[in-house]
Symmetry: C2
Subunit: 305 residues, 2 copies
Amino acid sequence: MSLLVVGSVALDSVKTPMGIAEEALGGSATYFSLAAKQFAPEVNIVAVVGEDFPKKYLDMLTSKGINLDGLTVKEGQTFRWVGEYDETYSDPETHDTQLNVFQEFDPMLPDTYCKSSFVFLGNIDPTLQQKVVEQCHKPLLVAADTMNFWIEGKLDHLKKLLKNINVLLINALEVRLLSGKRGLLEGGKAILDMGPEVLVIKRGEHGALMLSEDGVFTSPAYPTEKVIDPTGAGDSFAGGFMGYLASRGAVDFEEYKRAVIAGTIIASFNVEGFSVEKLANIDKKEILGRMKRFREITSFTVPQL
Amino acid sequence: MSLLVVGSVALDSVKTPMGIAEEALGGSATYFSLAAKQFAPEVNIVAVVGEDFPKKYLDMLTSKGINLDGLTVKEGQTFRWVGEYDETYSDPETHDTQLNVFQEFDPMLPDTYCKSSFVFLGNIDPTLQQKVVEQCHKPLLVAADTMNFWIEGKLDHLKKLLKNINVLLINALEVRLLSGKRGLLEGGKAILDMGPEVLVIKRGEHGALMLSEDGVFTSPAYPTEKVIDPTGAGDSFAGGFMGYLASRGAVDFEEYKRAVIAGTIIASFNVEGFSVEKLANIDKKEILGRMKRFREITSFTVPQL
Protein backbone atom coordinates (compact mmCIF):
# COMPACT_ATOMS: atom_id res chain seq x y z
CA MET A 1 0.00 0.00 0.00
CA SER A 2 1.02 3.64 -0.45
CA LEU A 3 2.96 5.42 2.28
CA LEU A 4 3.23 9.17 2.75
CA VAL A 5 6.01 10.87 4.72
CA VAL A 6 6.19 14.52 5.71
CA GLY A 7 9.49 15.79 7.06
CA SER A 8 12.81 17.41 6.26
CA VAL A 9 15.18 16.96 3.35
CA ALA A 10 18.48 18.52 4.33
CA LEU A 11 22.17 18.90 3.71
CA ASP A 12 24.18 17.56 6.65
CA SER A 13 27.82 18.12 7.49
CA VAL A 14 28.79 15.49 10.01
CA LYS A 15 31.98 14.60 11.81
CA THR A 16 32.32 11.27 13.62
CA PRO A 17 35.36 9.38 14.98
CA MET A 18 35.30 7.52 11.65
CA GLY A 19 35.55 10.56 9.37
CA ILE A 20 33.73 13.50 7.85
CA ALA A 21 30.83 14.01 5.43
CA GLU A 22 30.20 17.48 4.00
CA GLU A 23 26.92 18.76 2.58
CA ALA A 24 25.71 15.19 2.41
CA LEU A 25 22.12 14.14 1.85
CA GLY A 26 20.19 14.13 5.12
CA GLY A 27 16.85 14.97 6.72
CA SER A 28 14.17 12.87 8.37
CA ALA A 29 12.06 12.35 5.24
CA THR A 30 15.15 11.26 3.29
CA TYR A 31 16.21 8.54 5.74
CA PHE A 32 12.62 7.52 6.29
CA SER A 33 11.75 7.14 2.62
CA LEU A 34 14.88 5.22 1.64
CA ALA A 35 14.30 2.82 4.53
CA ALA A 36 10.57 2.49 3.83
CA LYS A 37 11.08 1.87 0.10
CA GLN A 38 12.86 -1.39 0.96
CA PHE A 39 9.42 -2.70 1.93
CA ALA A 40 6.61 -0.44 0.69
CA PRO A 41 5.63 -0.39 -3.01
CA GLU A 42 4.88 3.36 -3.03
CA VAL A 43 6.57 6.05 -0.94
CA ASN A 44 5.47 9.66 -1.32
CA ILE A 45 7.59 12.50 0.11
CA VAL A 46 6.28 15.90 1.18
CA ALA A 47 9.18 18.26 1.90
CA VAL A 48 10.86 21.47 0.82
CA VAL A 49 14.38 22.22 -0.41
CA GLY A 50 16.13 25.36 -1.65
CA GLU A 51 17.29 26.16 -5.15
CA ASP A 52 20.79 25.09 -4.16
CA PHE A 53 19.73 21.50 -3.54
CA PRO A 54 21.94 19.21 -5.67
CA LYS A 55 20.14 17.58 -8.59
CA LYS A 56 22.14 14.38 -8.07
CA TYR A 57 20.34 13.79 -4.78
CA LEU A 58 16.92 14.22 -6.41
CA ASP A 59 17.97 11.84 -9.18
CA MET A 60 19.15 9.26 -6.66
CA LEU A 61 15.85 9.35 -4.74
CA THR A 62 13.88 9.09 -7.99
CA SER A 63 16.05 6.18 -9.15
CA LYS A 64 15.08 4.34 -5.97
CA GLY A 65 11.42 4.70 -6.92
CA ILE A 66 10.58 7.38 -4.35
CA ASN A 67 7.84 9.76 -5.46
CA LEU A 68 8.97 13.40 -5.25
CA ASP A 69 5.77 15.04 -6.57
CA GLY A 70 5.35 16.62 -3.13
CA LEU A 71 8.90 17.93 -2.89
CA THR A 72 8.81 21.68 -3.39
CA VAL A 73 11.86 23.63 -4.54
CA LYS A 74 11.64 27.11 -3.03
CA GLU A 75 13.66 30.26 -3.56
CA GLY A 76 16.45 30.26 -0.98
CA GLN A 77 18.79 27.80 0.66
CA THR A 78 18.19 24.22 1.79
CA PHE A 79 17.98 23.29 5.50
CA ARG A 80 21.52 22.64 6.76
CA TRP A 81 22.78 20.90 9.89
CA VAL A 82 26.37 20.72 11.08
CA GLY A 83 27.08 18.27 13.89
CA GLU A 84 29.70 16.12 15.51
CA TYR A 85 29.66 12.78 17.35
CA ASP A 86 32.29 11.92 19.95
CA GLU A 87 33.73 8.48 20.77
CA THR A 88 30.56 7.43 22.60
CA TYR A 89 28.38 8.08 19.53
CA SER A 90 25.66 9.37 21.84
CA ASP A 91 23.84 12.69 21.34
CA PRO A 92 25.74 14.72 18.72
CA GLU A 93 26.95 18.24 19.39
CA THR A 94 25.22 20.65 17.01
CA HIS A 95 27.63 23.23 15.64
CA ASP A 96 25.15 24.96 13.35
CA THR A 97 21.51 24.72 12.28
CA GLN A 98 20.24 26.80 9.35
CA LEU A 99 16.53 26.18 8.85
CA ASN A 100 16.45 28.30 5.67
CA VAL A 101 13.45 27.35 3.46
CA PHE A 102 12.39 24.72 6.04
CA GLN A 103 11.47 27.54 8.44
CA GLU A 104 8.42 28.42 6.34
CA PHE A 105 7.56 24.81 5.50
CA ASP A 106 3.82 24.56 4.94
CA PRO A 107 3.14 21.02 3.77
CA MET A 108 0.58 20.84 0.94
CA LEU A 109 -0.26 17.39 -0.38
CA PRO A 110 -0.52 16.89 -4.14
CA ASP A 111 -3.96 15.41 -4.97
CA THR A 112 -2.41 12.06 -5.79
CA TYR A 113 -0.96 11.82 -2.26
CA CYS A 114 -4.23 12.37 -0.41
CA LYS A 115 -5.28 8.75 -0.71
CA SER A 116 -2.08 7.35 0.84
CA SER A 117 -3.07 4.48 3.13
CA PHE A 118 -0.19 4.90 5.57
CA VAL A 119 0.98 8.31 6.77
CA PHE A 120 4.09 9.26 8.73
CA LEU A 121 4.31 12.71 10.24
CA GLY A 122 8.00 13.48 10.74
CA ASN A 123 9.15 15.68 13.60
CA ILE A 124 7.68 19.10 12.67
CA ASP A 125 5.35 21.59 14.40
CA PRO A 126 2.29 19.65 15.61
CA THR A 127 -0.02 22.23 14.01
CA LEU A 128 1.54 21.36 10.64
CA GLN A 129 1.30 17.64 11.42
CA GLN A 130 -2.41 18.16 12.15
CA LYS A 131 -2.82 20.03 8.86
CA VAL A 132 -1.36 17.06 6.99
CA VAL A 133 -3.73 14.63 8.70
CA GLU A 134 -6.64 16.82 7.64
CA GLN A 135 -5.54 16.69 3.99
CA CYS A 136 -5.56 12.87 4.01
CA HIS A 137 -8.59 10.84 2.93
CA LYS A 138 -9.23 8.20 5.59
CA PRO A 139 -5.76 6.70 5.88
CA LEU A 140 -5.53 3.21 7.38
CA LEU A 141 -2.83 4.22 9.81
CA VAL A 142 -1.20 7.50 10.87
CA ALA A 143 2.08 7.57 12.82
CA ALA A 144 4.01 10.55 14.16
CA ASP A 145 7.35 11.53 15.65
CA THR A 146 7.87 14.57 17.88
CA MET A 147 10.54 16.08 20.15
CA ASN A 148 11.13 17.95 23.43
CA PHE A 149 10.86 21.33 21.65
CA TRP A 150 7.21 20.68 20.73
CA ILE A 151 6.37 18.87 23.97
CA GLU A 152 7.55 21.91 25.89
CA GLY A 153 6.39 24.61 23.48
CA LYS A 154 3.20 23.30 21.85
CA LEU A 155 1.80 20.74 24.24
CA ASP A 156 -1.87 21.59 23.60
CA HIS A 157 -1.50 21.20 19.86
CA LEU A 158 0.48 18.02 20.32
CA LYS A 159 -2.17 16.54 22.62
CA LYS A 160 -4.83 17.34 20.05
CA LEU A 161 -2.76 15.58 17.39
CA LEU A 162 -2.29 12.51 19.62
CA LYS A 163 -6.04 11.92 19.48
CA ASN A 164 -5.83 11.67 15.69
CA ILE A 165 -2.94 9.26 15.25
CA ASN A 166 -2.52 5.51 15.67
CA VAL A 167 1.19 5.24 16.44
CA LEU A 168 3.66 7.54 18.20
CA LEU A 169 7.40 6.89 17.79
CA ILE A 170 9.58 8.81 20.27
CA ASN A 171 12.62 8.29 22.49
CA ALA A 172 12.81 7.53 26.21
CA LEU A 173 13.51 11.14 27.28
CA GLU A 174 10.50 12.31 25.31
CA VAL A 175 8.33 9.65 26.95
CA ARG A 176 9.34 10.97 30.38
CA LEU A 177 8.81 14.59 29.34
CA LEU A 178 5.43 14.00 27.71
CA SER A 179 4.04 11.72 30.42
CA GLY A 180 5.64 13.30 33.48
CA LYS A 181 6.34 9.75 34.67
CA ARG A 182 9.73 8.28 35.52
CA GLY A 183 9.25 4.67 34.45
CA LEU A 184 8.96 3.84 30.75
CA LEU A 185 6.07 1.41 31.22
CA GLU A 186 4.20 3.81 33.47
CA GLY A 187 4.93 6.76 31.17
CA GLY A 188 4.08 4.73 28.11
CA LYS A 189 0.68 3.76 29.48
CA ALA A 190 -0.05 7.39 30.28
CA ILE A 191 0.76 8.29 26.66
CA LEU A 192 -1.51 5.54 25.31
CA ASP A 193 -4.26 7.17 27.38
CA MET A 194 -3.67 10.37 25.40
CA GLY A 195 -4.80 8.75 22.16
CA PRO A 196 -2.39 6.59 20.17
CA GLU A 197 -3.05 2.85 20.10
CA VAL A 198 0.63 2.00 19.85
CA LEU A 199 3.72 3.64 21.33
CA VAL A 200 7.17 2.76 20.01
CA ILE A 201 10.02 3.94 22.22
CA LYS A 202 13.21 4.27 20.15
CA ARG A 203 16.30 3.62 22.26
CA GLY A 204 19.03 3.94 19.61
CA GLU A 205 21.88 1.52 20.18
CA HIS A 206 19.80 -0.04 22.96
CA GLY A 207 16.88 -1.18 20.83
CA ALA A 208 13.19 -0.46 21.07
CA LEU A 209 10.24 -0.98 23.39
CA MET A 210 6.68 -1.10 22.01
CA LEU A 211 3.52 -0.79 24.06
CA SER A 212 -0.12 -1.16 23.08
CA GLU A 213 -3.35 -2.41 24.55
CA ASP A 214 -2.54 -5.74 22.94
CA GLY A 215 0.79 -6.21 24.64
CA VAL A 216 4.43 -5.31 25.08
CA PHE A 217 7.37 -6.06 22.80
CA THR A 218 11.01 -5.28 23.47
CA SER A 219 14.03 -5.76 21.29
CA PRO A 220 17.73 -5.00 21.64
CA ALA A 221 19.50 -3.25 18.74
CA TYR A 222 21.23 -5.42 16.15
CA PRO A 223 24.90 -5.53 17.19
CA THR A 224 26.74 -3.95 14.26
CA GLU A 225 30.39 -4.55 13.54
CA LYS A 226 31.24 -0.91 12.96
CA VAL A 227 29.28 2.27 13.51
CA ILE A 228 30.31 4.95 11.02
CA ASP A 229 27.61 7.62 11.43
CA PRO A 230 24.48 7.29 13.59
CA THR A 231 22.69 10.21 11.88
CA GLY A 232 19.25 9.14 10.70
CA ALA A 233 19.11 5.95 12.80
CA GLY A 234 15.78 6.92 14.36
CA ASP A 235 14.31 8.06 11.03
CA SER A 236 15.42 4.93 9.20
CA PHE A 237 13.99 2.86 12.07
CA ALA A 238 10.66 4.65 11.58
CA GLY A 239 10.92 4.14 7.81
CA GLY A 240 11.54 0.41 8.19
CA PHE A 241 8.71 0.17 10.71
CA MET A 242 6.15 2.01 8.56
CA GLY A 243 7.40 0.59 5.26
CA TYR A 244 6.96 -2.93 6.58
CA LEU A 245 3.43 -2.21 7.81
CA ALA A 246 2.53 -0.60 4.46
CA SER A 247 3.81 -3.70 2.67
CA ARG A 248 1.44 -5.87 4.72
CA GLY A 249 -1.65 -3.73 4.67
CA ALA A 250 -3.15 -5.37 7.71
CA VAL A 251 -1.95 -4.31 11.14
CA ASP A 252 -2.16 -6.61 14.13
CA PHE A 253 0.23 -6.95 17.06
CA GLU A 254 2.27 -9.74 15.42
CA GLU A 255 2.82 -7.49 12.38
CA TYR A 256 3.73 -4.60 14.65
CA LYS A 257 6.41 -6.80 16.25
CA ARG A 258 7.88 -7.65 12.86
CA ALA A 259 7.69 -3.96 11.96
CA VAL A 260 9.90 -3.18 14.99
CA ILE A 261 12.35 -5.82 13.75
CA ALA A 262 12.25 -4.33 10.23
CA GLY A 263 13.04 -0.91 11.70
CA THR A 264 15.80 -2.33 13.88
CA ILE A 265 17.49 -4.07 10.98
CA ILE A 266 17.25 -1.14 8.57
CA ALA A 267 18.66 1.20 11.23
CA SER A 268 21.55 -1.22 11.80
CA PHE A 269 22.52 -0.90 8.14
CA ASN A 270 22.05 2.86 8.12
CA VAL A 271 24.66 3.51 10.83
CA GLU A 272 27.27 1.58 8.84
CA GLY A 273 27.85 4.46 6.42
CA PHE A 274 27.88 8.25 6.28
CA SER A 275 24.65 9.94 5.20
CA VAL A 276 22.56 7.45 3.18
CA GLU A 277 25.58 5.68 1.66
CA LYS A 278 24.71 2.32 3.12
CA LEU A 279 20.94 2.75 3.29
CA ALA A 280 20.71 3.47 -0.44
CA ASN A 281 22.79 0.44 -1.32
CA ILE A 282 21.26 -2.53 0.44
CA ASP A 283 18.83 -5.06 -0.96
CA LYS A 284 16.05 -7.29 0.34
CA LYS A 285 18.36 -10.31 0.50
CA GLU A 286 20.75 -8.59 2.90
CA ILE A 287 17.84 -7.36 5.01
CA LEU A 288 16.29 -10.80 5.20
CA GLY A 289 19.66 -12.36 6.02
CA ARG A 290 20.19 -9.97 8.91
CA MET A 291 16.63 -10.53 10.17
CA LYS A 292 17.27 -14.28 10.30
CA ARG A 293 20.59 -13.73 12.02
CA PHE A 294 18.88 -11.39 14.51
CA ARG A 295 16.34 -14.06 15.36
CA GLU A 296 19.17 -16.53 15.97
CA ILE A 297 21.08 -14.27 18.33
CA THR A 298 18.04 -13.18 20.35
CA SER A 299 15.93 -16.32 20.76
CA PHE A 300 16.07 -18.59 23.77
CA THR A 301 13.98 -21.27 25.42
CA VAL A 302 12.70 -21.06 28.97
CA PRO A 303 14.60 -23.49 31.20
CA GLN A 304 13.13 -26.07 33.57
CA LEU A 305 13.80 -24.82 37.09
CA MET B 1 26.77 -28.11 41.77
CA SER B 2 28.56 -25.95 44.33
CA LEU B 3 29.24 -22.29 43.57
CA LEU B 4 31.83 -20.11 45.27
CA VAL B 5 31.72 -16.32 45.31
CA VAL B 6 34.43 -13.95 46.50
CA GLY B 7 33.49 -10.30 46.94
CA SER B 8 32.25 -7.63 49.28
CA VAL B 9 29.62 -7.71 52.00
CA ALA B 10 28.79 -4.14 52.90
CA LEU B 11 26.47 -1.66 54.55
CA ASP B 12 24.96 0.70 51.98
CA SER B 13 23.18 3.98 52.53
CA VAL B 14 21.34 4.78 49.34
CA LYS B 15 19.08 7.59 48.23
CA THR B 16 16.96 7.25 45.08
CA PRO B 17 13.98 9.25 43.76
CA MET B 18 11.84 6.57 45.45
CA GLY B 19 13.24 6.93 48.97
CA ILE B 20 16.13 6.20 51.29
CA ALA B 21 17.77 3.11 52.77
CA GLU B 22 20.26 3.51 55.62
CA GLU B 23 22.96 1.02 56.62
CA ALA B 24 21.18 -1.57 54.53
CA LEU B 25 22.67 -4.90 53.50
CA GLY B 26 24.78 -4.53 50.35
CA GLY B 27 27.99 -5.66 48.67
CA SER B 28 28.70 -7.64 45.51
CA ALA B 29 28.89 -11.05 47.23
CA THR B 30 25.60 -10.40 49.01
CA TYR B 31 23.61 -9.61 45.87
CA PHE B 32 25.40 -12.33 43.95
CA SER B 33 24.74 -15.08 46.47
CA LEU B 34 21.07 -14.28 47.04
CA ALA B 35 20.51 -14.27 43.27
CA ALA B 36 22.56 -17.44 42.73
CA LYS B 37 20.82 -19.36 45.52
CA GLN B 38 17.57 -19.16 43.54
CA PHE B 39 19.15 -21.69 41.18
CA ALA B 40 22.27 -23.28 42.68
CA PRO B 41 22.00 -25.92 45.43
CA GLU B 42 25.14 -24.72 47.25
CA VAL B 43 26.48 -21.16 47.43
CA ASN B 44 29.67 -20.47 49.40
CA ILE B 45 30.63 -16.89 50.29
CA VAL B 46 34.17 -15.67 50.92
CA ALA B 47 34.12 -12.14 52.33
CA VAL B 48 35.00 -10.03 55.33
CA VAL B 49 32.90 -7.84 57.63
CA GLY B 50 33.64 -5.84 60.77
CA GLU B 51 32.54 -6.51 64.32
CA ASP B 52 29.73 -3.98 63.85
CA PHE B 53 28.04 -6.08 61.16
CA PRO B 54 24.43 -6.71 62.23
CA LYS B 55 23.72 -10.29 63.23
CA LYS B 56 20.27 -10.07 61.62
CA TYR B 57 21.89 -9.88 58.19
CA LEU B 58 24.02 -12.96 58.87
CA ASP B 59 20.94 -14.79 60.10
CA MET B 60 18.98 -13.83 57.00
CA LEU B 61 21.72 -15.08 54.63
CA THR B 62 21.99 -18.32 56.61
CA SER B 63 18.22 -18.76 56.57
CA LYS B 64 18.37 -18.60 52.76
CA GLY B 65 20.78 -21.54 52.78
CA ILE B 66 23.89 -19.53 51.93
CA ASN B 67 27.09 -20.94 53.38
CA LEU B 68 28.97 -18.35 55.45
CA ASP B 69 31.89 -20.55 56.57
CA GLY B 70 34.18 -18.30 54.53
CA LEU B 71 32.83 -15.05 55.94
CA THR B 72 35.41 -13.63 58.34
CA VAL B 73 34.45 -11.19 61.09
CA LYS B 74 37.44 -8.92 61.66
CA GLU B 75 38.24 -6.32 64.28
CA GLY B 76 37.08 -2.97 62.93
CA GLN B 77 34.22 -1.58 60.88
CA THR B 78 32.38 -3.06 57.91
CA PHE B 79 32.80 -1.66 54.37
CA ARG B 80 30.34 1.21 53.91
CA TRP B 81 29.10 2.97 50.78
CA VAL B 82 26.91 6.06 50.65
CA GLY B 83 25.44 6.92 47.26
CA GLU B 84 22.62 8.64 45.46
CA TYR B 85 20.75 8.07 42.20
CA ASP B 86 19.09 10.92 40.31
CA GLU B 87 15.93 10.78 38.20
CA THR B 88 17.74 9.02 35.35
CA TYR B 89 18.84 6.13 37.61
CA SER B 90 22.14 6.04 35.74
CA ASP B 91 25.56 6.03 37.46
CA PRO B 92 25.05 6.91 41.12
CA GLU B 93 26.93 9.75 42.78
CA THR B 94 29.17 8.38 45.53
CA HIS B 95 29.05 10.56 48.64
CA ASP B 96 31.31 8.38 50.77
CA THR B 97 33.26 5.12 50.57
CA GLN B 98 34.80 3.62 53.71
CA LEU B 99 36.67 0.44 52.83
CA ASN B 100 37.40 -0.33 56.51
CA VAL B 101 38.13 -4.07 57.00
CA PHE B 102 37.62 -4.66 53.26
CA GLN B 103 40.85 -2.72 52.60
CA GLU B 104 42.94 -5.59 53.98
CA PHE B 105 40.73 -8.34 52.50
CA ASP B 106 42.89 -11.39 51.86
CA PRO B 107 40.53 -14.14 50.74
CA MET B 108 41.38 -17.55 52.27
CA LEU B 109 39.14 -20.45 51.29
CA PRO B 110 37.97 -22.88 53.97
CA ASP B 111 38.97 -26.44 52.97
CA THR B 112 35.37 -27.32 52.24
CA TYR B 113 35.17 -24.53 49.64
CA CYS B 114 38.20 -25.60 47.60
CA LYS B 115 36.25 -28.18 45.63
CA SER B 116 33.56 -25.74 44.47
CA SER B 117 32.77 -26.55 40.84
CA PHE B 118 31.80 -23.01 39.84
CA VAL B 119 33.75 -19.96 40.98
CA PHE B 120 32.88 -16.28 40.71
CA LEU B 121 35.57 -13.71 41.39
CA GLY B 122 33.82 -10.48 42.33
CA ASN B 123 35.35 -7.13 41.52
CA ILE B 124 38.48 -7.06 43.72
CA ASP B 125 42.23 -6.64 43.06
CA PRO B 126 43.18 -9.07 40.25
CA THR B 127 46.11 -10.34 42.31
CA LEU B 128 43.61 -11.46 44.97
CA GLN B 129 41.34 -12.94 42.30
CA GLN B 130 44.33 -14.93 41.05
CA LYS B 131 45.08 -16.10 44.59
CA VAL B 132 41.53 -17.45 44.89
CA VAL B 133 41.83 -19.33 41.60
CA GLU B 134 45.01 -20.94 42.88
CA GLN B 135 43.25 -22.18 46.02
CA CYS B 136 40.55 -23.95 43.97
CA HIS B 137 40.85 -27.62 42.98
CA LYS B 138 40.10 -27.89 39.27
CA PRO B 139 36.83 -25.96 39.13
CA LEU B 140 34.61 -26.62 36.11
CA LEU B 141 34.16 -22.93 35.38
CA VAL B 142 35.69 -19.70 36.69
CA ALA B 143 34.08 -16.30 36.00
CA ALA B 144 35.25 -12.84 37.00
CA ASP B 145 34.14 -9.24 37.17
CA THR B 146 36.51 -6.27 37.15
CA MET B 147 36.40 -2.46 36.80
CA ASN B 148 38.16 0.56 35.30
CA PHE B 149 40.27 1.00 38.47
CA TRP B 150 41.99 -2.38 37.93
CA ILE B 151 42.09 -2.08 34.14
CA GLU B 152 43.98 1.19 34.51
CA GLY B 153 46.03 0.34 37.61
CA LYS B 154 46.78 -3.40 37.41
CA LEU B 155 46.52 -4.29 33.74
CA ASP B 156 49.37 -6.83 33.78
CA HIS B 157 47.87 -8.74 36.68
CA LEU B 158 44.44 -8.59 35.12
CA LYS B 159 45.76 -9.91 31.80
CA LYS B 160 47.41 -12.81 33.63
CA LEU B 161 44.11 -13.58 35.35
CA LEU B 162 42.19 -13.47 32.05
CA LYS B 163 44.22 -16.48 30.86
CA ASN B 164 42.92 -18.47 33.85
CA ILE B 165 39.21 -17.77 33.66
CA ASN B 166 36.38 -18.99 31.42
CA VAL B 167 33.95 -16.08 31.61
CA LEU B 168 34.41 -12.33 32.04
CA LEU B 169 31.37 -10.20 32.98
CA ILE B 170 31.93 -6.44 32.58
CA ASN B 171 30.12 -3.35 31.30
CA ALA B 172 30.43 -1.59 27.94
CA LEU B 173 32.80 1.14 29.18
CA GLU B 174 35.10 -1.49 30.63
CA VAL B 175 35.06 -3.39 27.31
CA ARG B 176 36.20 -0.24 25.52
CA LEU B 177 38.86 0.52 28.14
CA LEU B 178 40.25 -3.01 28.28
CA SER B 179 40.24 -3.61 24.52
CA GLY B 180 41.11 -0.13 23.31
CA LYS B 181 38.44 -0.63 20.62
CA ARG B 182 35.37 1.54 20.02
CA GLY B 183 32.87 -1.06 18.83
CA LEU B 184 31.53 -3.61 21.32
CA LEU B 185 31.83 -6.54 18.90
CA GLU B 186 35.35 -5.54 17.88
CA GLY B 187 36.35 -4.89 21.50
CA GLY B 188 34.69 -8.07 22.67
CA LYS B 189 36.60 -10.18 20.17
CA ALA B 190 39.87 -8.58 21.29
CA ILE B 191 39.03 -9.52 24.89
CA LEU B 192 38.23 -13.12 23.92
CA ASP B 193 41.73 -13.22 22.42
CA MET B 194 43.10 -12.37 25.89
CA GLY B 195 41.87 -15.64 27.35
CA PRO B 196 38.23 -16.01 28.42
CA GLU B 197 35.99 -18.24 26.28
CA VAL B 198 32.91 -16.17 27.00
CA LEU B 199 32.41 -12.43 27.46
CA VAL B 200 29.18 -11.10 28.94
CA ILE B 201 28.69 -7.36 28.52
CA LYS B 202 26.30 -6.06 31.17
CA ARG B 203 24.34 -3.04 29.92
CA GLY B 204 22.10 -2.39 32.91
CA GLU B 205 18.65 -1.20 31.90
CA HIS B 206 19.62 -1.90 28.30
CA GLY B 207 20.21 -5.63 28.66
CA ALA B 208 23.20 -7.78 27.90
CA LEU B 209 25.39 -8.87 24.99
CA MET B 210 27.28 -12.17 25.13
CA LEU B 211 30.12 -13.19 22.84
CA SER B 212 32.01 -16.44 22.51
CA GLU B 213 33.63 -18.53 19.82
CA ASP B 214 30.30 -20.35 19.57
CA GLY B 215 28.23 -17.33 18.80
CA VAL B 216 26.60 -14.10 19.85
CA PHE B 217 23.54 -13.58 22.03
CA THR B 218 21.85 -10.30 22.84
CA SER B 219 18.96 -9.52 25.12
CA PRO B 220 17.13 -6.38 26.21
CA ALA B 221 16.46 -5.86 29.91
CA TYR B 222 13.13 -7.01 31.30
CA PRO B 223 10.88 -3.92 31.34
CA THR B 224 10.04 -3.45 35.02
CA GLU B 225 7.00 -1.53 36.23
CA LYS B 226 8.88 0.46 38.84
CA VAL B 227 12.58 0.87 39.60
CA ILE B 228 13.15 1.53 43.30
CA ASP B 229 16.91 1.06 43.70
CA PRO B 230 19.29 -0.16 40.97
CA THR B 231 22.09 -0.97 43.45
CA GLY B 232 23.31 -4.53 42.94
CA ALA B 233 21.69 -4.99 39.53
CA GLY B 234 24.98 -6.08 37.93
CA ASP B 235 25.89 -8.36 40.84
CA SER B 236 22.46 -10.01 40.93
CA PHE B 237 22.69 -10.45 37.14
CA ALA B 238 26.03 -12.23 37.65
CA GLY B 239 24.51 -14.29 40.48
CA GLY B 240 21.58 -15.41 38.35
CA PHE B 241 23.93 -16.17 35.44
CA MET B 242 26.35 -18.27 37.51
CA GLY B 243 23.67 -19.80 39.74
CA TYR B 244 21.82 -21.05 36.68
CA LEU B 245 24.98 -22.56 35.17
CA ALA B 246 25.84 -24.23 38.50
CA SER B 247 22.34 -25.72 38.60
CA ARG B 248 22.90 -27.31 35.20
CA GLY B 249 26.45 -28.55 35.61
CA ALA B 250 27.09 -28.75 31.88
CA VAL B 251 27.90 -25.58 29.99
CA ASP B 252 27.19 -25.20 26.30
CA PHE B 253 26.13 -22.10 24.37
CA GLU B 254 22.40 -22.84 24.71
CA GLU B 255 22.83 -23.03 28.50
CA TYR B 256 24.86 -19.81 28.45
CA LYS B 257 21.95 -18.10 26.68
CA ARG B 258 19.50 -19.25 29.33
CA ALA B 259 22.00 -18.14 31.99
CA VAL B 260 21.87 -14.61 30.52
CA ILE B 261 18.08 -14.76 30.75
CA ALA B 262 18.28 -16.01 34.35
CA GLY B 263 20.56 -13.08 35.19
CA THR B 264 18.30 -10.62 33.37
CA ILE B 265 15.20 -11.79 35.22
CA ILE B 266 16.82 -11.88 38.67
CA ALA B 267 18.22 -8.36 38.14
CA SER B 268 14.75 -7.15 37.13
CA PHE B 269 13.40 -8.27 40.50
CA ASN B 270 16.36 -6.85 42.41
CA VAL B 271 15.80 -3.26 41.24
CA GLU B 272 12.20 -3.36 42.47
CA GLY B 273 13.24 -2.91 46.11
CA PHE B 274 15.87 -1.19 48.23
CA SER B 275 18.90 -3.27 49.21
CA VAL B 276 18.00 -6.99 48.98
CA GLU B 277 14.35 -6.48 50.03
CA LYS B 278 12.93 -7.88 46.82
CA LEU B 279 15.77 -10.26 45.95
CA ALA B 280 15.47 -12.07 49.29
CA ASN B 281 11.72 -12.49 48.93
CA ILE B 282 11.09 -14.02 45.53
CA ASP B 283 10.55 -17.66 44.68
CA LYS B 284 11.14 -19.96 41.71
CA LYS B 285 7.53 -19.66 40.58
CA GLU B 286 7.78 -15.89 40.17
CA ILE B 287 11.12 -16.25 38.38
CA LEU B 288 9.75 -18.85 35.98
CA GLY B 289 6.64 -16.75 35.37
CA ARG B 290 8.72 -13.73 34.44
CA MET B 291 10.99 -15.83 32.21
CA LYS B 292 7.97 -17.06 30.26
CA ARG B 293 6.60 -13.54 30.02
CA PHE B 294 10.03 -12.33 28.82
CA ARG B 295 10.05 -14.93 26.07
CA GLU B 296 6.59 -13.75 24.97
CA ILE B 297 7.53 -10.09 24.79
CA THR B 298 10.83 -10.65 22.95
CA SER B 299 10.12 -13.37 20.40
CA PHE B 300 9.18 -12.74 16.81
CA THR B 301 9.08 -14.59 13.52
CA VAL B 302 11.01 -13.50 10.45
CA PRO B 303 8.61 -12.10 7.84
CA GLN B 304 8.37 -13.07 4.17
CA LEU B 305 9.70 -10.12 2.17
